[in-house]
């Protein structure tokens, strides 16, 4: 029983990180019709920027994380200006966009390898014993991750439901032309969407780095579960992405009860294939 609960906690953490990152992927897809294969590497860059600020430059953790989030967001907007906006102007289709995003992913990952090498690194954070809550072992960092994940998810929900920007984002996702015709500056909305998506991806990367370690492949390996979460929740639907992330993370962690741990990544793949066969519009999508 206790063992099971431990897996649930692990699942919540992994699911939260996947869900948080998936929100950005799905928001970007909703507005730009871009299935961004580089999204995982945005997460990697975010994690390494946090390493740069905290370990290399010796900034305090909170300051380093804030700086990493801001730089990641700026990087995403810069990539938009260099790559996605010119393609948007030419009304590039799904496939050219997708292939370009794989190219961007390669460039980013190799940039990380060039600058930091292939070795596994940590934020130098001493892993404490962890406290016992009703027999569950949970570290302070894990607790911080869980609380932050839920706080951020609530913030995204608030933003989308109640703010002018959030409504404009939903409107642009429904119909970009109609959004422009209504007086919404869609380019401005796109810029803000990138800021949010990259900030969330960077946060996900930092959380993953704190919970385990960082390495250049971290984002690329997480891309499959992130996409699985997005598809599970119905592509373009941020709430679906959160729920999908939780389901994927939980299934991966709980799967070790029945199958060997090194098959974990296969679980999200299996779920994704199943959902594509049975309900391609996702659990919460409409046919």
């Amino acid at each position: 029983m206790q063992g099971l609960l431990q897996y649930v906690v692990n699942g919540l953490i992994l699911g939260g990180i996947i869900g948080l990152t998936a929100i950005g992927l799905t928001l970007v897809y909703g507005i730009l019709r871009l299935a961004n294969f580089a999204h995982g590497d945005y997460l990697t860059i975010g994690a390494y920027l946090a390493y740069l600020y905290s370990v290399t430059l010796g900034m305090s953790m909170p300051a380093a994380f804030a700086a990493a989030i801001a730089s990641s967001a700026a990087m995403a907007v810069a990539i938009d200006r260099m790559v996605w906006r010119p393609m948007r102007r030419r009304r590039a289709g799904l496939i050219p966009l997708l292939i370009t995003s794989i190219g961007v992913a390669f460039v980013l990952r190799n940039l990380v390898i060039l600058l930091w090498g292939n070795a596994i690194r940590t934020y130098g954070y001493v892993v404490e014993e962890g406290m016992e809550i009703y027999g569950l072992r949970i570290t302070a960092v894990q607790l911080w991750i869980l609380v932050s994940v839920f706080l951020l998810m609530f913030l995204v929900h608030y933003l989308l439901t109640y703010t002018r920007l959030g409504k404009a984002m939903r409107a642009a996702a429904d119909n970009t032309d109609l959004a422009e015709v209504s007086g919404i500056d869609v380019e401005g909305v796109i810029t803000r969407t990138w800021l949010i998506a990259a900030a969330l991806a960077c946060t996900g990367g930092i959380m993953l780095g704190l919970d385990t370690h960082i390495k250049p492949i971290m984002g690329w390996s997480l891309l499959l579960p992130i996409f699985a979460a997005v598809i599970l929740g119905g592509i373009g639907n941020p709430y679906g992405a959160i729920a999908g992330g939780m389901i994927i993370g939980m299934s991966q962690e709980l799967s070790v009860i029945v199958i060997p741990a090194h098959y974990k990544p296969a679980v999200s793949f299996a779920i994704m294939i199943a959902i594509l066969f049975l309900r391609p519009e996702g659990l919460f999508g409409r046919r």
């Binding site: 409504k167 015709v181 209504s182």
Partner: protein, 236 residues
Amino acid sequence: MRILTVEDLVSGYRDVDILKGLSLHIEEGEIVAIIGPNGAGKSTLMKTVFGLIRPRSGRIVFRDRDIAGLKPDRIVRLGMGYVPQRDNVFPSLTVLENLEMGAFIIEDRRELERSLQRVYELLPVLERRSRERARNLSGGEQQMLAIGRAMMLEPALLLLDEPSAGLAPALVDSVFDRIREISSGGTAVAIVEQNARKALAMADRGYVLDMGRTRFEGRGEELLDNEEVKRLYLGG
């Protein structure tokens, strides 16, 4: 006073010209009907005027200002509204949110509230259904919502692309009644219609477009009585 002048407009998609030197104009407060066969370029004209398509050449002057090449969100701010032919509501947004998007450029909460009340008065069905998602509305209600969204900013000129398409006859009349009411409030209206006779009967003036050019122009009754127009475009 002219509110809109279109001169020698050439516009189209990729390498095909659809509008081949089209000219027309709209006076302040007027209702102008634009009719013509399928594929004549009526929707292309509206999309070009509203900045969704960049014209290749020609002039589009709105209230003394050349707006050719301006983006739609700039054009809205100058006082023009547009109801596209298809996909003219945000399906996943509620009726209220759709209307709010129509007034996106208004940041003042009270001003927004006033616009909302004005549109609810014009189209009461929207107030009753305000919490409903647009995709759950009937065809007629969606059309009313599309018009309501475009009316949130009290535009000086409203472009309507087939507002009665696909509606039952009784609903068509009620849409036309609303358009008359909008016009009597001082808004100039340019309306593209398949219900050509009804549109011409309501309009001050009309244009017949064909093959990307203006074939006929005149007062509404004039066009309705014109033998050639009747034979070619009004089905005898």
